[in-house]
């Protein structure tokens, strides 16, 4: 496993990139939600990530633990809907697991991400193939872990995570939704990508971009 460390600033850059991507893809995310949900996923994520970037710019957190806690709390308190508690809990748990440190190594980052995912599972009880953001998140973390464990670079591991998230996102199209609003549609949800999996894929697109070359 790579011994490269990840700084607080890099993590801020990740969040910043994620914020840029959801803003750029706002209509796309909302259109996905219009097809099988209630047409607000893009505006929800943009509202949340804009608030996050404002919060951490106004009062830059001094530890990684604090950073993720501020991110999580800001998402919880500004997003609402399903994605607010899910993304919020994800980052809150990452914060608790990261602790009051100023850098993380790959293994520690993986641990924090996994803790975040456990938070998502605790909140939303998604199972694999329920057609939720979990179907992008779980494969992404799985790919990230395998790559790191195979002693690939952080950059390669992040790329693997990005790819897995994108594959996971695309694979939601053929699933019947069993969680969230889309589940009301039953069979009619087939053929549409899950909006949350698409925003999660953006999270890992931002991830790969920031850690490329590391």
């Amino acid at each position: 496993m790579t011994s490269k460390t990840i700084s607080l600033n890099q993590l801020v850059a990740w969040l910043n990139k994620f914020s840029e991507l959801v803003s750029a893809q706002c209509n796309y995310l909302t259109d996905l939600d219009a097809a099988i949900g209630d047409a607000d996923h893009g505006t929800n994520m943009v509202r949340g990530m804009t608030a996050v970037m404002n919060a951490i710019t106004a009062a830059p957190p001094s530890t990684i633990g604090d950073l993720f806690k501020v991110v999580g709390m800001t998402l919880v308190s500004t997003v609402g809907g399903a994605s607010g508690p899910l993304y919020g809990t994800f980052f809150l748990r990452m914060g608790v697991t990261s602790g009051a440190v100023s850098e993380l190594n790959g293994a520690q980052l993986l641990m924090a991400l996994n803790a975040g995912m456990e938070g998502v599972v605790a909140r939303g009880k998604p199972l694999a193939n329920d057609k939720t953001l979990f179907d992008a998140l779980a494969p992404a973390l799985h790919a990230f872990a395998i790559s790191l464990n195979s002693c690939h670079s952080l950059s390669d591991a992040a790329l693997a995570a990005q790819t897995a998230a994108a594959v996971g996102r695309d694979a939601t199209a053929s699933l019947i939704a069993r969680k969230g609003r889309a589940s009301y549609l039953g069979e009619r949800s087939i053929g549409h990508i899950d909006p949350g999996s698409a925003s999660t894929a953006l999270l890992f697109e931002a991830f790969a971009e920031v850690f490329s070359g590391e």
Binding site: A39, N44, S77, G80
Partner: protein, 332 residues
């Protein structure tokens, strides 16, 4: 998109400003988007909080007042409010008798209210119970979905449980009553047109001129299936039959709500009520009380929903008790 708004992003904030001007009986925390009674409940009585995405007016802000809710948390359009809002409301309205959350069954609402209850318990020690409404028969109640949506029964529940809270019933009794009401209520809705979410600017779904969407929720979610546009009589069948197939409403009197989705005029709702009443009569169902109008809406969707609630004498008594809110008022 043609709406009486200033800008899509300001809709909720501006509507709350209007609500604040509408009556001195409400007090509005604009920062937290919470609607309170101006005159708080007497000490020792359980407080009721509800909330959800905006766009369903008068639900929930229009149901804050004597005999109904103590506070309503307003989310963005069709987006659950956040735990912070619910926590702030909880601290504000608790009179030391505990707080009941009335939550419509949507993943977002459930999770946000859950987080609020966790925070309330750990931060304040206030006794919080939650009741979840899930009365929409359009959705299969199976392990393979998020479960039935909470729709029309929420209105009836807020009224009846609100009256019981005003009587001074305790938290666990109220929570049992609320659950009992939810278990005895069923709803079903149809849309003639999609609504348009202001931030999106175009209809959520396309519905051809000769089709209607059966089994819609209150968020512009597509329904279960489409049918050729029917007559009011056929639509009434489409609404009432699945409700009656799901629950036996012949054993006790019922409260019926014929609810407009926001853009269907009252003359059509009166007419629809007549068609629904005919089917109920034919099915041996005894209507004790009714409501006809826009009570739980989906922005500018044209269409309607039917809610039936099987009630006992006590519930009817509580239904008839005085209520003074923007959305429902009688006896005072």
């Amino acid at each position: 998109m043609k709406k009486l708004i200033n800008a899509p992003d300001n809709l909720v904030a501006d509507a709350l400003l209007g609500l604040a001007e509408a009556t001195t009986e409400l007090q509005i925390d604009h920062k937290n988007r919470i609607i309170y009674r101006a005159e708080p409940k007497q000490k020792g009585k359980v407080a009721l909080i509800s909330g959800g995405g905006s766009g369903h007016e008068p639900l929930h802000g229009g149901y804050v007042g004597l005999g109904m809710l103590d506070a309503a948390c307003a989310g963005e359009v069709f987006t659950s409010p956040t735990p912070d809002q619910m926590l702030a409301a909880t601290k504000q309205v608790d009179t030391a008798a505990g707080v009941l959350y009335i939550v419509k069954n949507y993943t977002g609402d459930i999770m946000n209210f859950e987080m609020a209850a966790e925070l309330a318990t750990s931060e304040t020690g206030i006794n919080v119970l939650s009741v979840v409404t899930n009365d929409d028969v359009a959705v299969q109640d199976s392990l393979y979905t998020a479960g039935r949506r909470g729709v029309g029964v929420t209105v009836l529940l807020e009224k009846i449980v609100g009256a019981a809270a005003e009587e001074g019933q305790d938290l666990s009794t109220l929570s049992t009553l609320a659950r009992d009401i939810n278990n005895n209520g069923r709803s079903m809705g149809i849309a003639l047109t999609s609504c348009t979410v202001p931030a999106v600017g175009k209809p959520t779904f396309d519905l051809p001129d000769n089709e209607m969407e059966i089994g819609i929720g209150i968020h512009g979610e597509p329904g279960r299936h489409r049918l050729p546009l029917g007559t009011a009589r056929e639509i009434a069948e489409q609404l009432v039959e699945p409700i009656l197939a799901d629950f036996n409403f012949t054993s006790r009197p019922v409260i019926v709500m014929l609810n407009g989705m926001g853009a269907s005029p009252l003359i059509e709702l009166y007419l629809m009520y007549g068609e629904v009443a005919k089917i109920l009569k034919r099915s041996g169902i005894n209507v004790a009380r009714n409501l006809i109008g826009n009570y739980i809406t989906a922005l500018d969707m044209a269409g309607c929903s039917v809610t039936l609630l099987s009630v006992d004498d006590q519930m009817i008594k509580l239904w008839d008790a005085p209520v003074k809110t923007l959305g429902l008022r009688w006896g005072i």
